[in-house]
Symmetry: C2
Subunit: 218 residues, 2 copies
């Protein structure tokens, strides 16, 4: 099984028992969400932008307007850090110090490069299908003008780490005698009732791709 | 009402009608979540770390282990970018190009500085109360050793922007005639059933602070 090399860059220093460097764990976190945070540097200032993404193998795909600042900067091949965090709960320990969150987070280091024109469509499909499997073939595909207006970036995952916390609070041994309630409030990202566009002109059934999103977040 | 100055750093270039620079909108987003993404630069490499936070006035508070890399770096007063994103739904347009997300995101630029020893407790209270109002007084407060092991950072919000997308898809006029379903799958972060720590030694009722988290995410 693929494992990412551990260096000072991706090494999890705090609570290392929660860290993980295998690709399987990382990909599982990446595949459970479709909004990531992308950090990059411009004029010695760090920037973060939340972005949609898709994953295929050891690569992450991002897209944006060709005219956008981010795309102009990133296509020059600068280092990026991409983070995906799934918040699973609030951990209320008996002590403030040990109160925490349950979460699964993935941190990826890589360099963004521009996907060439003829491979753009395939890369956009990866992003669309990552969000809603099957939607690419249902929706109207990008036309020439739209493809031109869109840049797609490919980030090879050079290094990465995952960090996961699960379960109840862990308090200091003597604190278990305190009359303080402790436990977890689980948090889940859940899909609500699908809202059909009020401007839909004809009676159409909700497609399987959309039902699948609801199932994934149920 | 306080508004953040717009410069090239915080200006939202893409879809500017979704952008907002007033403090009220920004604070509302920040107050709706308690996990943020913090970006900083180390050796010309961008890093992101998901962190708990609290807000008081125009300041964001972060905490971490005094021994951690992040705290060691950030306390030297380097620029940070902090992003909070609330994902509200998947927007399925008739065209792939106009498919999108509904979201509320806040991007903050500032410089982290170390909270001095005697103000640390008050700053930790802000973070705890941001997550669970009332919990500070219920839980065991940090002792001397724990306070020493914890660093707290204060980030004055120098510049910021919010970006919000709501509502149904917006397609090209001619696409409304296509027999393609369009709409929104709403997503909500929701609290599940509270899980009392199985190691709780006595029968204690779930406190109001914890019930409040459930209400906030209901």
């Amino acid at each position: 099984m693929k494992k990412f090399t551990i260096t000072s860059r991706n090494k999890v220093n705090r609570v290392p028992k929660r860290a993980n460097y295998d690709a399987k764990t990382l990909y599982a976190i990446l595949d459970n969400m479709f909004v990531c945070h992308v950090a990059f540097i411009l004029d010695k200032q760090p920037f973060i932008i939340p972005m949609a993404y898709g994953r295929r193998g050891n690569k992450i795909y991002l897209h944006g307007a060709t005219s956008s600042r981010l795309m102009k900067i990133l296509k020059s091949g600068i280092p990026v850090c991409i983070c995906v965090t799934l918040l699973d709960g609030v951990v209320l320990a008996r002590s403030s110090f040990h109160s925490s969150m349950n979460y699964r987070s993935a941190v990826v280091f890589g360099t963004a490069s521009l996907v060439e024109e003829k491979k753009k469509n395939a890369a956009l499909k990866i992003i669309t299908e990552h969000i809603a499997e099957g939607r690419w073939n249902e929706a109207r595909k990008p036309n020439f003008k739209e493809l031109k207006a869109t840049s797609v970036l490919e980030v090879m995952i050079d290094q990465a780490s995952s960090k996961i916390r699960t379960g109840p609070p862990l308090d200091e041994p003597e604190d278990y005698d305190l009359p303080i309630w402790a436990g977890v409030v689980p948090l889940n990202l859940l899909a609500g009732k699908t809202e059909t566009d009020p401007l839909l002109k004809m009676k159409l059934r909700i497609p399987e791709s959309v039902k699948r999103i609801r199932k994934e977040f149920s």
